[in-house]
Homo-oligomer: 299 residues x 4
Amino acid sequence: MPHFPIRTDLALEAREFIEEANGEMRGVIVDTYSEASDTIQVTHVQITTKNGAKAMGKPIGTYITLEADNLTEPDDGYHREVSLSIARHLQSLLPDSEKEQSILVVGLGNRDVTADALGPCVVDNLNITRHMLRQFGHAAYDCKKVHEISGIVPGVMGKTGMETAEIIRGIVSTTNPDIIVVIDALAARSTRRLTRTIQITNTGIQPGSGVGNHRDSLTEESLGVPVIAIGIPTVVDAATIVKDAISHLRQEDDEMQNILYDMNNMYVTAKDIDSTIKRLGYTLSEALNIAFSLCNESD
Amino acid sequence: MPHFPIRTDLALEAREFIEEANGEMRGVIVDTYSEASDTIQVTHVQITTKNGAKAMGKPIGTYITLEADNLTEPDDGYHREVSLSIARHLQSLLPDSEKEQSILVVGLGNRDVTADALGPCVVDNLNITRHMLRQFGHAAYDCKKVHEISGIVPGVMGKTGMETAEIIRGIVSTTNPDIIVVIDALAARSTRRLTRTIQITNTGIQPGSGVGNHRDSLTEESLGVPVIAIGIPTVVDAATIVKDAISHLRQEDDEMQNILYDMNNMYVTAKDIDSTIKRLGYTLSEALNIAFSLCNESD
Amino acid sequence: MPHFPIRTDLALEAREFIEEANGEMRGVIVDTYSEASDTIQVTHVQITTKNGAKAMGKPIGTYITLEADNLTEPDDGYHREVSLSIARHLQSLLPDSEKEQSILVVGLGNRDVTADALGPCVVDNLNITRHMLRQFGHAAYDCKKVHEISGIVPGVMGKTGMETAEIIRGIVSTTNPDIIVVIDALAARSTRRLTRTIQITNTGIQPGSGVGNHRDSLTEESLGVPVIAIGIPTVVDAATIVKDAISHLRQEDDEMQNILYDMNNMYVTAKDIDSTIKRLGYTLSEALNIAFSLCNESD
Amino acid sequence: MPHFPIRTDLALEAREFIEEANGEMRGVIVDTYSEASDTIQVTHVQITTKNGAKAMGKPIGTYITLEADNLTEPDDGYHREVSLSIARHLQSLLPDSEKEQSILVVGLGNRDVTADALGPCVVDNLNITRHMLRQFGHAAYDCKKVHEISGIVPGVMGKTGMETAEIIRGIVSTTNPDIIVVIDALAARSTRRLTRTIQITNTGIQPGSGVGNHRDSLTEESLGVPVIAIGIPTVVDAATIVKDAISHLRQEDDEMQNILYDMNNMYVTAKDIDSTIKRLGYTLSEALNIAFSLCNESD
């Protein structure tokens, strides 16, 4: 099986890379269809065996990718469609979604680096309920059933001195959520995926993933509760851009090693990344607020 | 002993209030002197007995108050003097300060409310060492001895759904610091104390204190490790301002109850609070960086 | 006529104060009614003569006040009602609102002081069209008629060294807008008006008004184009709170002078001011986006 | 003379590119030397003729480049050296620097895009004097001579609808500064220049330059007062990175056109860009505060 000289957090791109190199793929089930009058393309990837996991470079589990072309256009009606779609797919991965549960939402990323600020931006706009339920009970809300929602922005290791996994593990031990939902900014292989692709997976966060190259994993194995990860690619790793660009030229070069060395710890992103993060943040937080609402009319 | 109809986080003001009502004070030892060529007034209050604690409305322990008149003036030389003084007094409360230890610094408060943003502001400017020591060892630094410094901004319950004590307790359980230093914005009784008074205490954080009226305590009892709290008053509780204003008129009034009810959850602060918080944040973070440095020439 | 020992930017409160002191009021026409199924109370004040202006302490012109009790509740449906109401009343003050015009929106206030950040917050969420129209013409939009909307956050004199009037006058001279709409955080007399009252006036901004006590005026006289000002009170001047509290005790006192001196440059605001500013910012920016839309279906 | 298929705002890199293609360079005088015990390399480029300007793709004028390897290391002593050096070179370009003058400092860039936030960050930390001098005269300061310093962050066209040149021209017309100093984040050709190179020039800002690709020029010609520009490269244009990477492979390709099209409006920057911008912001603002101080002991 080919190894991965390119970097991507998207199962979608991992699959494309495999297919280009080696058409056949066992232990990986792929289903594609469209939603919202064909404006959203859904790719449902299930990695079912160890071989499939090894080939894809990603663990066994489910990866739902939504591609929404106009995600960065300022059309509020369209964004509502996307939020509803994300909410439905998220609910399909939530265990026992009709039962009241306590859900900890983690906004990974660095608030002060625009391209990595998606997680914090989403958590900032969440409907937090845990403290209200604890103080006032269901009287605080109009619905019969209400999930207990808490949120945390753990920051990044360069600023806290601690791995986010240490912080989250500690919070899990004192507050005992039933489920964790992690929001993260991802790295894609191609600029064409940026800010128009949403990945939802029940495999949590793997080491090395995200714009921040997370050191630890945030998974059911490491935290003891199911972890659902939602990510949107906002950057392409710079070395990957260059490798991809020259790959078809089929030329090896010593000079290339120097150039790629300079690309270390650099990323490529778009100039209007601030308005993009703001818009994506609203769309995702709206999706979570819808997904977590147990009322009959959703809000 | 008189009870406390006024609200203050400052032991200094609590003592003044007691003295006004009842000159004698047992179980409370007070020492005052000046530093830095008389530009800093130090008041050292030790509450030694349960009676003293009851009278003062604060637990047994040490409270060091520094009053620095020109704290908000843009004089960098003066600020350095104040930072050195804070550092010395903080070190006097750190157990085993010559030995390498792991110290978790907690920036309490709400980043988005200027008067309550002191804690986050200080942690943002701290020299964080824990991740560097873990990855590179002492080779990362020029000193033979280096404290392992980590920092966290836990946010406020209205935004996380969790009490800061739950978050800190969890982090303590996974990272095991030897000491916790908490930075908080305080409420004073009088506007004359605002932003020119620094309180350092080894009694941690009490319920009801701080601009945010913290619900839980952050103390050695509740967290299992020594907790040193450093605070600067940035607001006066609005009801306290009014009560204080009319107290000498010695008149009771039903109408006053209505007025005081409107003051509920309101605070009084100065118009230039942003530049003040910025300046105080630098002075305090510089103080901590100096206090935590084990090198021969401090920096 | 009584003079004004209390400070308020609200014509509504100025009128109440006058009526308490001297029931009769000439040169001031007041009309009150309700909207949105009685959830919004509208007070329409027109000062028509110099005597009325002198009595009210405010210039000749129109002052529309909307009182919406639930403005800080997280009810999106209700906020839409309020935005529509603000939009309608703003349009009633815009000259030639059916004709395409260029409108400069000015967000007064200090971004870094939460209670004074309303203006910047609103401008941040505005649909800015001027650069798109200049580059692409009407092809950039789906409507036949589009106002040319520009926005500026001039900052505060303490940070720029310039009066906002100098900055705005300069921008008016180079970009020539037809109308200016200014957004500002106001000071009220009573905490009961805070964050639930919206004032819209065609008299622009007067010296001494706003949380920032603006030094210059921003009016048609000083800028050469009509200026509409929209404000929401977020603070009460601290000296005013104390004076109001003791006024009914009818006692004069030297000590009171000292207390009031300490209140100088202080203000009273609520603890949850950040979520309030965020919510009010969205409601107001939505109102402006609706008011400035010339399409058949508003958005 | 070769044209410029690569993008760079640095005269230093423009000169390297010319030399690689065509050793000889007329109308361009270059002087190099080191400062601060060889820790800072200074390159002094003067373009003196139209031919030189055409060859370099930059207008006639002086370009001083400082290369400071350790600019992003947290060494406060070293940063002071760099600030002093920048201050000296800035003063060498200020006309009549010993005479009191009014200086408008413009922080170009988008606060909300980390890599483009250098300008705003510097202006935020400037000692602003204009309003103090106007209100209190020289009594406000300890020095006999004080420059009148004002500062503005005009924002970006996508958020204001106006070109920064329109805003600055307006402010110049009402406040009449003697000199303008503009701070901007630049685009370099190579990642090796990023965040360790400072360019100071008396030619102002050219169209197409900066991370934001400024549309208008900010020069003495367009504004009527001398304009000094100080910039630090924080990004490399993505298309330039790819072209540079493949240039030595000397292969033309249709596929390459597609790849380069995707790079449109993308940039490459480092992961730790936030702490870098913060540090560079302090170093530059300290440099300006030193350069603008007319006191005998600089601070």
